[in-house]
């Protein structure tokens, strides 16, 4: 019987092909959009964690309140001891010290006279002792020319900055900044390579130096602006981070020391928390709107084809089907259509999302003036949810549309359904 009805369903394109197309389109768009949103979100979280915030970050209270000014005079001291205790307390987590600094780059000509000066934003990470930071920041891949620093005194500058101040590999530069004691810090470096991260905020005017070089230059022995912590599996887990932060900060609540360390989660920095919940909300709204629109269209299609089918339903009643049976068969048909449409839509959506996951969508233009740590390539991300976020609503909407439109059959008197036959 079901086979017989499905045969009819397939032959009647108004009832099969058309709804399947609608369902697959809706499901495809939902899947694609969702994959994009989660791609953007996870890329953003990932880039932020790597470059800026860590999964957890420790600074001094004083540094925290003035952090936009990069107040290295308020930075953490006895960093090696702190790192050792963190590694002991949170095994598996990767803890690393960094210094962010700002200053002027002074470029000398061949006589040693100042040729140009340019403001610079700097990031000092451990490049010489272990390769982990280089890997985390993807430095090797970011190198446009030259090589990684291998000796003290070697730095990388962004390719854009290097071109602007017209320096090449091997060129000496001088960093003018302020030391941790508030004095003038002057230090010479050699450019060993130029980099481009594909992150607008990093590529505009940054230099990357080894941590110990900058500790020396800024007179911060055993000091660091911040300590970043990364979870063992590389994923940010909100609850776990919050718990760690609580436990850590509890130990210092009674201290009035301005230099006491405070731990912050990724979400607590740079407004990322709001960003995450904002994108989450947008995601829900988008999926919700699609679901509602799709249900509406399917309901209308269901109603229209229902009306078209009054005659058929009348005949089937006359031939001895009960209303329950007919209603059930309509639902079975809609499940078949829903599954077919949702499968096609999901496959298409995931396929297109896969393309944008691998290739990405270049939005460099949109980020020219942005300081968000966000990649210039927007990538979709296919997760488990990509496979059901469109599928389930697609199936549900089809079923709902049919269920609602099918109720008409029960509402109408058998004989009046039947009257359609005589028209």
């Amino acid at each position: 019987m079901i086979r017989f009805l499905l045969k009819g369903l397939i032959r009647d394109h108004h009832r099969s092909v058309f709804p399947v197309i609608i369902v697959s389109l809706g499901v495809m768009l939902t899947t694609l959009l969702f994959s994009f949103l989660s791609g953007v979100l996870s890329d953003m979280i990932d880039a932020s964690a790597r470059f800026e915030t860590g999964h957890l970050k420790i600074v001094t209270r004083a540094y925290q309140t003035l952090s936009d000014q990069l107040p290295n005079d308020l930075a953490l001291t006895h960093v090696d001891t702190l790192l050792a205790s963190l590694r002991r307390d949170y095994p598996g987590y990767d803890w690393t010290a960094r210094i962010k600094f700002a200053g002027l780059l002074d470029v000398p000509d061949e006589h040693g006279e100042t040729k140009t000066q340019n403001p610079v934003f700097g990031l000092a990470v451990d490049l010489l002792r272990s390769g982990r930071e280089a890997e985390r920041l993807n430095v090797r891949k970011a190198i446009v020319s030259g090589r990684m620093p291998q000796h003290p005194g070697e730095v990388l500058v962004s390719d854009e900055l290097a071109r602007r101040i017209d320096v090449g590999i091997g060129h000496p530069i001088t960093l003018l900044s302020s030391s941790s004691s508030g004095g003038m810090a002057i230090q010479n470096f050699i450019i060993c390579g130029t980099v481009e991260f594909g992150i607008a905020a990093m590529d505009r005017g940054a230099m990357i130096a080894d941590l110990s070089d900058i500790q020396y230059a800024l007179d911060m022995p055993d000091g660091a602006a911040e300590i970043l912590g990364y979870s063992p599996n590389g994923f940010y887990v909100s609850d776990e981070a919050a718990a760690m932060r609580h436990a850590f900060n509890d130990r210092f609540t009674r201290s009035a020391d301005r230099y006491a360390p405070v731990m912050m989660t990724l979400e607590e920095q740079n407004g990322l928390g709001e960003y995450i919940s904002y994108i989450d909300t947008v995601g829900y709204i988008v999926v919700g709107v699609f679901l509602a629109a799709m249900s509406m269209v399917l309901l209308i299609v269901g109603l229209m084809s229902g009306i078209r089918r009054y005659g058929e339903i009348g005949v089937r009643l006359a031939l001895g089907e009960s209303k329950d049976m007919i209603y059930t068969m309509l639902l079975v048909e809609s499940v078949v259509i829903g599954i077919a449409g949702s499968c096609i839509g999901t496959v298409l959506g995931v396929a297109i999302a896969y393309y944008f996951q691998e290739i990405g969508l270049d939005i460099t233009g949109a980020l020219r003036n942005s300081s968000i740590m966000m990649s210039n390539l927007v990538r979709a991300r296919i997760g488990a949810a990509s496979f059901y976020i469109g599928f389930i609503p697609g199936l549900a909407a089809t079923l709902l549309g049919t269920a609602l439109s099918g109720i008409q059959i029960f509402k109408r008197q058998t004989a009046s359904l039947f009257k359609e036959l005589e028209a």
Partner: protein, 231 residues
């Protein structure tokens, strides 16, 4: 005898409600029919023929009175029991054929047997037999839109007859057919009535149909005004 009476209609009233008004389409119909009859409800348009046929076919409920069809009181049947009654024992033929357009002739005729959950071999045999009765075995795999009106109605007859029901209800079966096709269909029905003892009940005002009837029940304004045996 109650055993041979397959339809007993007593004091049947049907009101159609339209807002606060109601319209009495059937006004105290009483008659009975025995197995193998070839009866027609005859009367002017609006006299209640279709309404009566629908109640006998358990597609509609009476307002009062009762129609007992094959020992089942139609007014108290649950819609599932009504469906079962139609499925087992009643074949319908309509003025507008009402074949299912997406199915072939063969499949249209097969449909009632699928509802009866008949096995493959039995279905195939019965369908081919029914198509033979109406002389359409050659068109088994055509679609309804490839058939003439006469052929379509013959398929409808085959569909009604395939399960060899006790009763066939035919509402204006010839209204859309020319004279030749009408006679063709009616001769066929007469033959089936003869051979299989199927009871036929028509609703019609077509003189051609009336000339074939064994019994004519004349309706007017929802009442039986005459009940004539014909020879």
């Amino acid at each position: 005898m109650a055993t041979s009476q397959i339809i007993t209609v007593s004091n049947l009233v049907k009101d159609y409600f339209m807002g606060r008004q109601f319209f009495r389409a059937l006004n105290g119909i009483t008659f009975s029919a025995v197995k193998g009859e070839f009866i027609g409800f005859v009367g002017p348009s609006g006299s209640g023929k279709t309404t009566l046929l629908n109640i006998i076919g358990a597609l509609d409920n009476p307002t009062s009175g009762e129609a007992i069809v094959l020992n089942k009181p139609v007014s108290t049947l649950h819609q599932k029991e009504a469906a079962r009654l139609r499925n087992d024992s009643i074949g319908f033929i309509f003025q507008t054929y009402n074949l299912l357009p997406v199915y072939t002739v063969y499949e249209n005729v097969e449909f009632p047997l699928l509802l009866l959950k008949k096995g493959n071999a039995e279905r195939e045999h019965a369908v081919m037999q029914a198509l033979e009765w109406v002389g359409l075995t050659a068109k088994a795999h055509s679609r309804p839109n490839q058939l003439s009106g006469g052929e379509s109605q013959r398929v409808a007859v085959a569909r009604a007859m395939v399960k060899v029901p006790e009763i066939v209800l035919a509402d204006e079966p010839t209204a859309n057919l020319d004279a030749a096709n009408s006679h063709n269909i009616l001769t066929m029905m007469q033959r089936l009535n003869d051979e299989l003892k199927t009871t036929f009940i028509f609703a019609t005002h077509d003189e051609k149909v009336i000339s074939y009837l064994h019994r004519k029940i004349v309706l007017n304004d929802g009442r039986v005004v005459d009940d004539i045996m014909m020879n």
